[in-house]
């Protein structure tokens, strides 16, 4: 991997570092602040479990963030992560508890605006609604847990010292779970913008197992977070203690568990599979703000004790920070990209143009679209997504779904199956059948991603997507990852 690629990843690592520095306090802050656990113990547990969570369970939430805006050039990723990191830094210096999630989402939107790429409103709506849902959910969990805990404590009549010892143990366990959930859910914030522009390739370890490019990203991001925890989080932890509401160690335990449950819910693919298997509605996998979850949980307990105990002004400043952060990040990213592109001559995005080509028209007509509407758009070239969308919107006879479909099928991605790139292919973790299918296409050129995808699907069942049901989503996600890898490998720039 070249030096330039390494350099561009540094902003992501910086973002990871600041996430670790700020958010570790959400997990262990009260425990360390009330001196129930030593900082060193907390830091080590936090680091280990954050990395574990990121690598093992990071894929779900990252996928959703990737859908929000596909930052497809490394310098672009660099600026997005840098903008987010700067926002976090500025907000932290101003004393406002900040959400890394909101910063990165703001930065991605900023990138979308600059490159005139479509912001996937579906993904954006999903993300925003979870921002609202997560603190509420955390509050509900906190209230239930708190009531349960007080009931148990009252009935078991344990000695004060025994309760203290159990609480310590509980805080350690809850903290480990919290760190895992933080890694699983928030790694998306740190490396999400690098997924589509990753300089990594899959790594085969001694022929035993493969570490995919994405997993390597997660590991690197996780390590950056861990580094942030170890080097800077102590300062933040010491000040978190009494922020919103004075908490007893038992209440602190409730807050950590409620927070961790919420983050885990919004990150767990395992849970998604389980729910789908039972025929229940699944929870969207979205990066969620750790700080918001904690505030929600603390508020829940505060309301239980009577609203007077809560420091409402602190809450006000928190909400202000939450609104300002994405806006600030979007603006910084936008101008940063401008500088990066025009002053430093870096390619911050890979142009994606759109042509409603004959094959695309044919496929769209098969899907039931009117040939009249399509005929008028035929063979016209649109340089950016925004211009294409405007042209489509100008036509009143197209529904939103139809517009989206047309954009998907009209997207131009020149790819040539160049045999010289086959060695790279070998590192993609493809199955033998999948690899075989790709090699069989040697020398051929494709203009659209879907054409290559369909050709491969015809050649081998292992390239076929299963029905879009919750039970299949995990497999489909993996398959999409493999496809994206093939697209990237044979891209003609």
């Amino acid at each position: 991997m070249e030096v330039a690629a390494l350099f561009f990843m540094t902003s992501g690592l910086f973002l990871g570092w600041s996430l670790g520095a700020n958010d570790a306090a959400n997990v262990f802050g009260t425990a360390v602040g009330t001196r129930m656990i030593r900082f060193t113990t907390a830091a080590v547990i936090c680091s280990v479990f954050v990395v574990l969570g990121a690598v093992v369970s990071g894929a779900g939430a990252t996928g959703t963030l990737g859908k929000l805006g596909s930052v497809n050039a490394l310098p672009g990723s660099f600026m997005a992560a840098l903008a987010a990191a700067l926002s976090v830094y500025v907000m932290t210096k101003s004393g406002l508890p900040v959400s890394t999630t909101q910063a990165i989402v703001g930065a991605i939107v900023g990138w979308n605006l600059f490159t005139e790429t479509e912001t996937d409103t579906g993904a954006l709506v999903k993300i925003l609604s979870t921002w609202i849902a997560s603190p509420i959910l955390a509050a509900i969990f906190a209230v239930i847990l708190f009531k349960l805990l007080t009931f148990v404590l009252r009935t078991t009549k344990l000695h004060l010292l025994r309760i203290d010892a159990y609480t310590r143990l509980g805080l350690v366990l809850a903290g480990a779970f919290g760190a895992y959930s933080l890694g699983a859910n928030n790694i998306a914030n740190v490396v999400g913008v690098f997924v589509h522009a990753t300089p990594f390739t899959d790594l085969n370890v001694a022929g035993l197992f493969t570490v995919t490019a994405v997993e390597q990203l997660f590991l690197l991001g996780g390590l950056a977070i861990a580094f942030g925890v170890l080097t800077y989080s102590e300062r933040v932890m010491r000040t978190v203690g009494e922020g919103l509401l004075p908490l007893s160690p038992s209440a602190a335990w409730v807050v950590v568990v409620a927070h961790s449950l919420v983050l885990f819910l919004f990150a767990s693919q395992g849970l998604e599979r389980f729910l789908a298997g039972q025929g229940l509605p699944t929870i969207p996998l979205v990066p969620v703000s750790s700080s918001q979850a904690v505030v929600g949980a603390v508020l829940g307990i505060g309301l239980l004790k009577g609203a007077r105990a809560v420091r409402w002004r602190v809450l006000g400043s928190i909400v202000t920070g939450w609104v300002m952060t994405p806006v600030f990040a979007a603006v910084v990213c936008f101008f940063g990209l401008f500088f990066l592109q025009n002053v430093f001559g870096q390619k911050v995005y890979r142009e994606v143009s759109y042509v409603v080509s004959p094959p695309a028209i044919e496929r769209l007509e098969q899907l039931g679209m009117s040939s009249k509407a399509l005929g008028e758009l035929a063979n016209r070239r649109f340089e950016t997504a925004v211009r294409f969308r405007r042209a489509l919107e100008a036509r009143a006879d197209l529904s939103a779904d139809e517009r989206r479909l047309i954009m998907e099928y009209a997207e131009i991605n020149p790819m040539t199956i160049d045999p010289e790139r086959f060695p790279t292919l070998a590192r993609g973790g493809l199955s033998p059948a999948q690899s075989e299918a790709v090699r069989a296409l040697a020398g051929r050129t494709f203009t659209h991603k879907w054409m290559l995808a369909e050709t491969l699907a015809r050649a081998s069942p292992e390239w076929r997507f299963l029905a879009d049901e919750p039970l299949n989503r995990s497999r489909n996600r993996k398959l999409q990852g493999r496809l994206d890898f093939v697209f990237r490998t044979f891209r003609v720039d």
Binding site: T34, T41, L160, L161, R162, A165, R168, V172, K305
Partner: protein, 220 residues
């Protein structure tokens, strides 16, 4: 690394719980021995049996002191119960001062050997019994503070009751003493002993007041 430390934590927690229990036992026993000692003194005078009981209370008080210091060291050394340790150690210190009151009163009996006329003995006994009941209730309240916070109030109100009773009996006793034909110096000497026993009940009430606050703080 965190787990082995927690194992050691649980062991030392159990040991500390035992220490606190033993401390409270000492206080309780001191009260009972005090009652017996005063009874012996009133019926037989400063006999060997009385001196033996005095020594017993002395030992209990020394042991309680050592326990309290060891508990304090453990709690701070292991940074246990950071939220409540100020209150817990304060409580133990206050209870210790009651032990000192009991011991001090017995020493006074031993050194000054008051001559208590028989007509005052019954009231003296009742006063002593009432004061010790106050101490007993305080011990129960303290145990509840550690095990069963909601029961603390049940015992605290009894401490207040016994303190009022002790005051009443003490006043009645003093009136009888001063309306008798004894010389003034004798009357004043006897008054001091009435007051030193009454002080035990008063001390118990003071501690009970503080304990009420500690208990409220814990339930919030």
């Amino acid at each position: 690394m965190a787990l082995p430390r927690n194992m050691a934590l649980f062991r030392s927690t159990k040991a500390l719980e035992r220490d606190i229990d033993e401390f409270l036992d000492n206080l309780s026993q001191s009260g009972l021995v005090f009652k017996q000692a005063v009874h012996v003194f009133l019926t037989e005078g400063p006999t060997e049996e009385f001196e033996e009981k005095l020594r017993r209370v002395n030992d209990l008080e020394s042991r309680a002191d050592r326990l309290r210091r060891s508990i304090e060291t453990e709690v701070y050394g292991q940074t246990l119960i950071p939220e409540s340790r100020g209150d817990v150690l304060g409580l133990l210190e206050n209870l210790d001062s009651i032990l000192n009151d009991l011991e001090g009163a017995l020493w006074n009996f031993s050194i000054e050997t008051p001559d208590i006329p028989s007509e005052f003995r019954k009231d003296f006994e009742t006063l002593t019994d009432t004061a010790v009941l106050g101490v007993e209730s305080l011990v129960l309240a303290s145990r509840a503070f550690f095990h069963n916070i909601t029961a603390v109030g049940d015992h605290i109100h009894k401490v207040m009751f016994y303190e009022k009773e002790a005051d009443r009996i003490g006043t009645k006793l003093k009136r009888s003493i001063f309306s008798s034909e004894l010389p003034l110096s004798h009357k004043m000497h006897l008054r001091q002993f009435v007051e030193s026993v009454d002080n035990v009940a008063d001390g118990a009430e003071d501690v009970a007041d503080r304990l009420t606050i500690y208990a409220i703080k814990r339930t919030v």
